[in-house]
Amino acid sequence: MDIKKSNRKRHLDTLLTATTWTFAVLTLTALMFIVGHILINGVPHLTPSLFEMRWTTENVSMMPSILSTAMMVVITLCLVVPLGMFTSIYLVEYAKKGSRYVKVIRQATEILAGIPSIVYGLFGSLFFVNFMGLGLSLIAGALTLSIMVLPLVIRTTEEALKSVSDGFREGAFALGSGKLRVVFRIVLPSAVPGILAGVILATGRIVGETAALIFTAGTAPNIPQNLYGSVRTLAVHMWSLSGEAFHTNEAYATAVVLLLIVLIINTVAAAIAKALNSGRIK
């Protein structure tokens, strides 16, 4: 009886160990399979014609989309970084602890962070595209995205500001600096790496976004003349290509470029965050 019991126990142990290992390996395999499949099928089709400056139905070049993506990133960041930074300066440096404003702002950013991107697209098309009359445009897309990534920028900047030691602030105050000077000359410069990591993360979100852009920035495949022109970012381009049966190879190649850009951006952000953390422990 006892031997049976201990045998059963040992069986359970083996079963649990085996399951844990299997599932962990499965996770790793899923990633390697997805990335590997796209690289293997995409890299051989990275032809020069895919990088021509003008898109045609023949070459389905992704170059205009890459440039459009860069424009979208720059404009969105110009809108969202000051806003997010000022918000976190208020939350960390100015607001009284436990103030009602802080609670409301926290709650609002948390809800904003959970809204699906298609709802942002819906709102953007209602508000920026139609109500404000911006049309399907670079600027309408950037405005929509800046609300979408605002919570991310606020959270990362807030953490960066909080990690600046109070001694810096107190020292500067003791030397007679005003609050503004302390914030801009002392706190912000020391928080730059953390803020940068957040900005890079936001860039990754913008580059990878599709659903919020289709109905706000549209799908025009070439570089826009101005802010009010419709654009297609690389992710949206990827989506359009995947719907066309005759461009599978080009879709694979485009997927390679999009995947690599996003993965590099995320790796850089993670590296900065890691360097920051290890620096703090020392």
């Binding site: 359970l12 290992w21 000051p82 000022f86 609002a108 809800i111 959970g114 699906p116 990827m238």
Partner: protein
């Protein structure tokens, strides 16, 4: 002396103005949320009133462009629920076991590989997942479906669940892992000291201690799955009819908006019904947020 005074005044004014500027900026996120909410409600509620709340939520037929049109979103609500449920069935066990592996079992060298891999998985854009689903998952599921049911293209609830199951892995893994790590080590050591094997200590002592954090990770995973658009759009088939089988297509709430927003005439009942679909989606996400807050608050209290 006088110069110093004006300097001081200017400085004070500048301090005051900038303090207000910071506050106004901070309130913009509240304003943005309010405007999003108002715009959805103002455009969506009249449509719900015109269609009738019951007919809208429980109507089984969605034919927005026929005469007369019918706007029932029950097929899409069920589509979202089934696909999310499927994603949970696929992703949660794998995710939790991987989290346990990362927190307690994983050798250091493997950890240095597996952890970044999980984070990379989180960084892959959903349109790439969707493309991968189209070219790999759908044909595979199609073959299984033909074998089992004698038909089907593969673009189905099953394919979408499989793909979403992978997509929610990073959410489930990362949050569960930190919850498991947060469980006091003394529990583990105590269990070992009482003669329990390491595996049994982990599964029957540590995991129960971390259960609210693990639950929170599942709730966030549900949020991610229900809000996902592009990947689902590309693999689920998107037929606006009541789901009949896991091997047949279905349309989610998100896909409903994404598919028809492009051609619905602005201001028409069709377009407003899509906005109302957005409201229903918003309600789902809001409920998930509330649930998450309740679960994590309990955790802090304990």
């Amino acid at each position: 002396m006088v110069g110093g005074n004006t300097m001081n005044k200017i400085r004070k004014i500048r301090e005051f103005v900038m303090a207000k500027v910071f506050m106004v900026c901070a309130l913009i996120s509240v304003l943005a949320l309010t405007v999003i909410f108002l715009f959805l409600l103002v455009n969506g509620l009249p449509a719900i009133r015109e269609i009738g709340l019951f007919n809208f939520l429980f109507g089984r037929i969605w034919t927005p462009v026929s005469h007369p049109p019918s706007f029932g979103i029950l097929p899409m609500i069920l589509g979202s629920v089934y696909i999310t449920l499927g994603a949970i069935i696929v992703g949660v066990p794998i995710g939790i076991f991987t989290a346990i592996f990362l927190a307690y079992i994983c050798p250091k060298k493997l950890y240095a590989m597996l952890k970044p891999a999980v984070n990379l998985l989180a960084g892959i854009p959903s349109v790439i997942y969707g493309f991968f689903g189209m070219v790999v998952v759908v044909p595979l599921v199609g073959r299984i479906s033909v074998l089992l049911t004698g038909g089907g293209t593969g673009a189905s609830i099953f394919a979408a669940s499989l793909l979403l199951g992978i997509m929610i892995l990073p959410t489930v893994i990362n949050i569960s892992e930190s919850a498991i790590r947060a469980a006091p080590n003394s529990y583990y050591e105590g269990a070992l000291a009482l003669g329990s094997s390491p595996m049994r200590s982990i599964f029957f002592v540590i995991v129960p201690a971390a259960k609210s954090g693990i639950l929170a990770s599942i709730i966030l995973g549900i949020g991610r799955a229900i809000g996902e658009t592009m990947a689902v759009l590309m693999v689920a088939g998107n037929q606006a009819r009541m789901p009949i089988s896991v091997f047949r297509g279905a349309r989610t709430l998100t896909a409903n908006v994404a598919m028809e927003m492009g051609y619905a005439e602005v201001g028409s009942l069709h377009s407003n019904a899509l906005i109302a679909t957005g409201i229903v989606l918003f309600v789902f996400i809001f409920a998930i947020n509330v649930l998450f807050t309740i679960v994590t608050r309990k955790h802090k209290g304990a």
